[in-house]
């Protein structure tokens, strides 16, 4: 049992208690011997897990091959676009055209995927919103009132509306995939579509985007917002990596170069520095 969480120490005494003393149930390497994750031996008990089953087990402590397959399938269909114009992918592409390294390109692309207009913020925000909305609906509050309250507080609805285009082309293939997995009839997915139905009729005309769709699937699988967030941190690599490779194979510096006249300066007029 991990006793360190129960310590009543504070300040320097707390830090002294932890000095050279990390007690953890999560995992460790026993050099030249074995590796353990959450009480299971990597070489003998986890060795037949898929990569995603292992990640999901690390995050949730549960072995859930079906959910791992759903996460992997939705990551493939919905967050792995190999278009180097998309902002996170473009970072990896620029790192290619400047001949930086693959790991730096991917890590910068992953970091940038924690964005507001797409990526991890809507991903976590959408699941959080759906959980709160379901709770309120249970209390008898209407979809209209739930949505209006959220809009008033945040001026947007995580998982609804989209930059560049209204339509999210990922919903249909996502639904086909979920149907194949027999995972398309969950309560949260139903709720996500109900919210879309309401929003479509308002002046906002927001349609559901894939963040709400995926979040509803995660909610139907019982994932917490934090679990879903952590498993989603790697969801964009499938688009980031090919974007980086596409610029590596062309002459250096040729990925969307900008001539000087592409700067639209709204700066003040020329002046001289006075010390």
């Amino acid at each position: 049992m991990n006793t360190q969480n129960n310590t009543s120490l504070t300040g320097p005494e707390l830090l002294s208690h932890y000095e050279d003393n990390w007690q953890t149930a999560m995992g460790a390497w026993f050099p030249a011997e074995r590796v353990v994750l959450r009480g299971k031996d990597l070489f003998t008990e986890l060795n037949d897990y898929s990569w995603m089953e292992y990640i999901l087990f690390a995050v949730t402590g549960k072995h859930n091959p079906r959910l791992a397959k759903i996460i992997e399938g939705l990551s493939l269909l919905t967050t792995s676009y190999p278009d180097p114009r998309l902002w996170n992918n473009r970072i990896a592409a620029l790192a290619g055209t400047t001949r930086s390294t693959g790991a730096l390109a991917v890590s910068a692309g992953v970091a940038a995927s924690e964005a507001t207009i797409y990526g991890l913020k809507p991903i976590k925000g959408a699941l959080n919103f759906l959980y709160q909305a379901a709770e309120k609906k249970k209390q008898g509050i209407s979809i209209e009132a739930i949505v209006k309250e959220e809009l008033k507080a945040k001026r947007c609805i995580s998982g609804y509306g989209r930059p560049l285009t209204d339509e999210d082309e990922r919903i249909a293939p996502g639904l086909r995939f979920l149907a194949k997995m027999d995972a398309d009839k969950g309560e949260y997915l139903k709720l996500a579509f109900e919210i879309e139905d309401y929003l479509k009729g308002t002046r906002y005309k927001f349609k559901m985007n894939i963040a709400a769709f995926n979040a509803a699937t995660a909610a139907d699988a019982g994932m917490t917002a934090d679990e879903y967030y952590h498993t989603s941190t790697i969801a964009f690599i499938g688009g980031i990596l090919p974007s980086h490779l596409s610029t590596l194979s062309k002459p250096e510096g040729t990925f969307y170069p900008l001539s000087v006249d592409r700067i639209n300066s709204t700066s003040v007029t020329k002046r001289s520095w006075v010390n």
Partner: protein, 274 residues
Amino acid sequence: MSSQDKKDREQITTKIWREEAEPDNPFAATASYCAGYDVYGDLLGKVSFIEYLWLLFKLDPPSKAQVRTLEGLAVALANPGPRDASVRGAMNAGVGGSTHAAALIASISIGAGNLGGAREVFTAMQYWQQCGTDIDSWINIIKNPPLYDTGDVWPEMEHTPGFDPNGASCPKPVRQLLNHLANIEHNDELIWLQSNRLLLEQQAQSPLSFSGIAAATFFTLDFKPEEAEMLFLLLRLPGAAAHALEQERMGWNRYPFFGAGLTLTDDPGPSTKK
């Protein structure tokens, strides 16, 4: 390309920068202007690094007192020292022979957080924006911190921003920095912080930290929270870089691995399976 096509091309709109092209190459600048100043033809040789940093964010030159204040803070933040988590991240990259960019990425990622990091400065700046120098507002916000948005990607603040939850009394270097900055003219908020430090520490049940002084200083210099967050990330990089290179030269076997410092509390033991 026709002039119509040229007109339709997407552009980067910026208040910060203006460029003129070299006659033989539209992709190279013959002059670059920052906030109206010719960077290579005028600023170079005249402007200090801190003045230029200020200009980039503010688009107007700083006063002497503002330069002295930002300079003082920059020196204080430049090296948090090798025990600091952000510098340790950089040194881990160093001893493992990672890329030098990875060392700075490690430093930035770790030093971005709620504990002693740039997000703490951001949140503390929001406290300053809300409370200013009204002690009652401070006492109230410390007792009743803003509600956490569970949909946020940042973890919830676990302590009063700007104060060290694991501290004892306020360390001397923190007090020295506050004294130095409070003695520069026009830094009224820092004088107020100096006068009210003990009371605030009592309310927060923890001592003022460097991130707390950084937030107060950025507030007194009229930076926005997001600008303060960026500058805090930037200003702490020099020490991380230097320590990473030093440890890289010495190697992993002269750097702590905490070999005997880990206890696995859920251990199935050596497997009998083959």
